[in-house]
Subunit: 394 residues, 2 copies
């Protein structure tokens, strides 16, 4: 187990009607001028934004709106938000939505406290030293951004999508009402569940040894998320399935399951280029990339036993002690079957991606600084990234 | 799943040499006059207290010492600490040790900010409104007090042991170096592991339904703790086993595994009277009480399936679908075998407790307010508490 420092200061208000406490809680946090940042019109049409606004006003706050946070959130909206914060002397940001609204809000919060271009943080030219307080009303289970230290933004002009990891990315408070996720389209529920599983898998497939406790916590969470996803995709109104997915999504990406481990995140880097180029749902992209990445890793004998462990403990595949590789492969197949069952794509074609783009996708994939490889635990180089994408091009 | 609010503000510094960062970290927290509160002489003899003192002084702090925190920590030490804090204008408390030193430190911190008698908090006459900042250098894996919302103190004159749950009980920072636990006597390692498991089991045996995610997280943690305890008791110098136990002890009692559930804690209430009367290790008392409590709960048909789930998923007992009670019973037996293997007592006699004390022990056991029952999930009344103690009196 690796040494670690860990602090998760986010306050979670979880359950039915959780968002109705936003006014009281934000007031206790000292918010006076609040910018609500959200995505498409559904949060407005459902009345959620209006209700939040009324509640915050009833608690004496001035409220401003910024809509239009898009999937694969764009830098232009961040610039717009930063300007608005400065003009209106906003002192608290409230993201309403999923990963896009939250990630965009994080970038606005950091950018508003910085004299330079906020993109400096995302391209590695500067590190965040200060941010403003922000919270979340979560409406969809996927990115885990409601308490992760991560934010991902796409630069519109270059179509480059970059992630930023910093402790300043942790929200002060997260209102999590699983009922709000019941109106999310089924494809998006499935895509969210795939993202959640990928966050766990990125941590699970590690090079660190003696991590039995977090191994088992990861396996536990994967089993529960798989079960809940199957139910929620069939019946989005099932509260308990939505609740397991929502909390599962949170712990999947806030290091509850990752402390003391080395995570990989190569699959995430490869996927970021897919969703940047084709504007597909991040989870759907991961449904294509992750199994291909696993199939590729099977070619490295030292990784077979851990994939077999995944097969056995997560999907209940009986261990073949004479031939662990067979067990491992059956685990990957079981994972693909699950993804197929919840309606996810498994191939580049289904995603609308083109074979001829593969070299460019591989070339653009973000590498570990100063190297040709991506991924921290089971790194793959440029040729191997291409090989992974070719496996996905079936 | 139940609705919940959850926030865990403790910062964890975990790994080899973690305590060497105390000076820098406490300085960053603004500490200037620090009281180090610890237990017996071993922390002094090992040089740990001296090293911490030197480090804090090197960072410009004034340092004071208060030793003598005892297992089943006493109120007299708390009064002494409160007086010292006031006299020396202490602004930060640093507990060094395990549950006793930490629980005692929590009580001192609350008491020092309160005009009345600190015992008011523990007997329910007052609620904590304010506390002073405190941190922990953990030297033994057991109580989970390094980030739990709990503190347990014994009133010397009445031999009454009472727990206090409040969010003010969460330390600001916890330095957790598994190497420090290597010199803990094997009996205490085993007793600590039993306490850790009991904290998980108190949450696991719940009346709440649809808690698949936290069920599985509990099972995962129990499996890892059982494995690590077996190793650490045989070889206390095994770093990785100590690390799993130490982090396992933390998540066992800080609601990582308990959110959205109803915990029981009846076994803890029953055990508190045992350790108050006979001054036995809390974990050893739990080794006697918890299996007896489980055997008693087997008489209630509605609880059999959950105990069978425990047997199957934690101890790998093959499920007998024709006779789940047989599976459940085999699970309890497996748990008893494990406790025996690591050197724990299983009977009142081994604990040094007397049969004739049973009625008094049952009578003294703390009840849920306004009722004759103890335990929130699977409550038991006075006659049933006696029956449980009789099962343990074998």
């Amino acid at each position: 187990m690796k040494d670690f420092c860990y602090c998760l200061p986010t306050r979670f208000v979880f359950g039915r009607g959780a968002e109705q406490r936003a006014g009281a809680e934000l007031s206790a946090l000292g918010a006076t001028r609040v910018l609500i940042h959200y995505g498409g019109g559904s949060a407005v049409r459902s009345g959620l934004i209006g209700r939040l606004e009324a509640d915050l006003r009833a608690h004496g706050m001035e409220v401003f709106r910024l809509g239009g946070a898009m999937p694969n959130p764009r830098d232009d909206k961040v610039y717009e938000g930063i300007e608005l914060v400065r003009r209106e002397k906003i002192d608290f940001l409230l993201a309403v939505g999923g990963g896009s609204a939250i990630d965009s809000t994080k970038a606005i919060a950091h950018g508003a406290c910085y004299d330079g271009d906020f993109w400096d943080f995302f391209c590695g030219k500067a590190t965040v030293q200060k941010t403003m307080p922000f919270g979340v009303v979560l409406t969809t289970s996927a990115a885990g951004s409601e308490s992760s230290n991560s934010s991902v933004i796409m630069q519109e002009k270059t179509k480059i999508k970059r992630g930023l990891g910093t402790e300043f990315n942790r929200p002060r408070i997260a209102f999590m009402n699983p009922e709000l996720a019941m109106t999310v389209p089924k494809y998006q529920i499935a895509s969210g569940a795939t993202d959640i599983l990928a966050h766990i898998m990125e941590r699970y497939f590690t090079c660190e040894t003696e991590v039995d406790l977090t191994d088992r916590l990861c396996e536990a969470a994967m089993q529960a998320v798989i079960r809940a996803a199957r139910i929620a995709v069939k019946d989005p109104t099932n509260y308990d399935a939505q609740a397991q997915l929502m909390w599962g999504g949170t712990i999947a990406h806030n290091e509850t399951l990752g402390v003391g481990r080395v995570g990989d995140f190569g699959s995430h880097q490869i996927e970021h280029e897919l969703s940047a180029l084709y504007d597909v749902a991040h989870g759907a992209g991961l449904a294509v990339v992750f199994p291909a990445w696993l199939r590729f890793q099977m070619t490295k004998p030292e990784h077979v036993m851990r994939i077999a462990q995944f097969a056995n403990r997560v999907y209940g595949i009986s261990m073949n002690f004479e031939n662990p590789a067979e067990t491992a492969l059956r685990g990957i197949e079981a994972h693909e079957s699950f993804l197929r069952e919840i309606g996810m794509p498994l191939t580049l074609k289904e995603l609308g991606a083109r074979s001829e783009d593969i070299p460019a996708l591989a070339a653009k994939t973000k590498r570990n600084p100063g190297t040709d490889v991506t991924g921290r635990a089971w790194p793959v180089n440029g040729a191997e990234i291409e090989a992974i994408l070719r496996i996905a091009d079936r």
